[in-house]
């Protein structure tokens, strides 16, 4: 699908992957997250190949894909409790703060299946905030979001990057960043 890609990002960098539909943005993100195998080449985290030490890499990464990865029959809070719970010990305050930040507190206790597509997206992103992972891999995070929502995500990214975080974002939108360094990568 694509070949001859080589890049490295460090703290405060945001890799912005762009390109037309079907060019392999999602595939690239899945390779970077360790979910897919690349035909050749490798992905390294802190100098170690990610398939050699998945535990460490996965602890540091949070991936939000096309599918939100939320259990429809559980509430937003329950979903977050689980996703954080299998990663690390956590406080309820972390979850509440993250949901607050994404402005979905009012529906935090409803089953996810009754939420709107935009609200689900926000809950999914709240997980990335609550998990406090160093690297965010976001596949089209702006889908289904209103203007306020998009603005909110940009601000979240700003905060994440200025706190020394890393991000890989696939989006055919512009990515207005006020903090951090945008590393553009266009796949054709």
């Amino acid at each position: 699908m694509f070949s001859n890609l080589a890049f490295a990002i460090g703290e405060g960098d945001c890799l912005h992957v762009t390109g037309p539909n079907g060019c392999g943005k999602t595939s690239l993100l899945r390779v970077l997250s360790g979910m897919s195998l690349s035909e050749s080449g490798d992905v390294r985290w802190d100098g170690t190949r990610i398939d050699r030490d998945r535990g460490t890499f996965n602890q540091a990464v949070f991936y939000v894909g096309h599918r939100e990865g939320l259990k429809a029959h559980l509430s937003a809070v329950e979903n977050l409790q689980f996703d954080l719970g299998i990663r690390r010990s956590f406080d309820q305050a972390d979850i509440d703060a993250a949901l607050e930040r994404l402005a979905v507190t009012h529906c935090a206790h409803l089953p996810v299946r009754v939420l709107s597509a935009g609200q689900k997206r926000r809950v999914a992103l709240a997980r990335a905030v609550a998990a406090k992972s160093r690297l965010w891999i976001l596949d089209e995070p702006f889908t289904n979001l209103d203007v306020a929502g998009r603005d909110l995500i940009s601000h979240l990214l700003d905060d994440h990057l200025s706190g020394g975080g890393l991000a890989v974002v696939a989006a055919h939108h512009d990515l207005p960043l006020r903090a951090g360094r945008r590393v553009p990568l266009e796949i054709s």
Partner: protein
């Protein structure tokens, strides 16, 4: 910010899966009902003759258990694949094989354990002698988790295939035959008033073997299905 151990993580996964199951419990009961209905078919298709039914009882119980456990497999990983939560499990810091084992155990508790508990009722309906009931339950308790574990590998392989139901049965049933053979044999021996310990030991051996290896194969298969 402290990492959690594998046991805490497994406990949280079990808790989540149970919550999801109990919020639409009617679906979880289907395999159990299926088990009873399949068993009911045999006297209707053959005859209500007590001697015949008693001879058939171990086979009927085990064939029904095998079919109902295969039917239940469809819900094991499919839902998680569809809503994307399997991706999150695969990307969690915990070993995927371990998490899948926790899922399989939960699945067995919900779909396999009730079979073990209701089997005496079916067996009595087939005039299986009373003294054979306990060995039969023991055989089912050892055998049905093995069926779930073997089935999990098949379910993981077909998780990415559209309409993989028939394919899943084709993959899983041949691999499950030894379990069924030993299970039915143990039940049969107990029904004849003989010592069923030989096949019971073999069932235990199969259970521990699949318990150690099946989650690894299932994890490899899930990663392939996610790719």
């Amino acid at each position: 910010m402290e990492n959690v151990g594998i046991f805490t993580a497994a406990a949280r996964l079990v808790e989540r899966d149970l919550k999801v199951i109990f919020r639409h419990v009617s679906e979880a009961l289907n395999p159990l009902v299926f088990f009873v209905v399949v068993a009911t078919l045999f006297p209707l298709a053959t005859s209500p003759d007590a001697a015949l039914l008693r001879d058939m009882a171990p086979g009927v119980v085990w064939v029904a258990a095998l079919l109902s456990s295969t039917l239940a497999l469809d819900s094991l990983f499919k839902a998680d694949m569809d809503d994307g939560t399997m991706e999150q499990l695969a990307l969690s810091p915990q070993p995927l094989a371990w998490l899948l084992l926790a899922k399989i155990v939960t699945h067995w508790v919900v779909s396999g354990l009730p079979l073990v508990l209701i089997a005496p009722l079916v067996a009595r309906g087939f005039f299986l002698p009373t003294e054979a009931i306990l060995p039969m339950m023991l055989a089912l308790a050892l055998g049905t988790p093995t069926l779930s574990l073997i089935g999990a590998v098949g379910a993981a392989l077909t998780a990415g295939v559209r309409r993989g139901g028939a394919l899943l049965s084709l993959l899983v049933l041949p691999l499950s035959l030894p379990t069924m053979i030993f299970g039915a044999r143990a039940t049969d021996l107990a029904g004849l008033g003989e010592d069923p310990s030989g096949p019971l030991y073999l069932l235990a051996a199969l259970l521990f073997l699949t318990l150690s290896l099946a989650p690894l194969a299932a994890a490899a298969a899930i990663r392939i299905s996610l790719d």
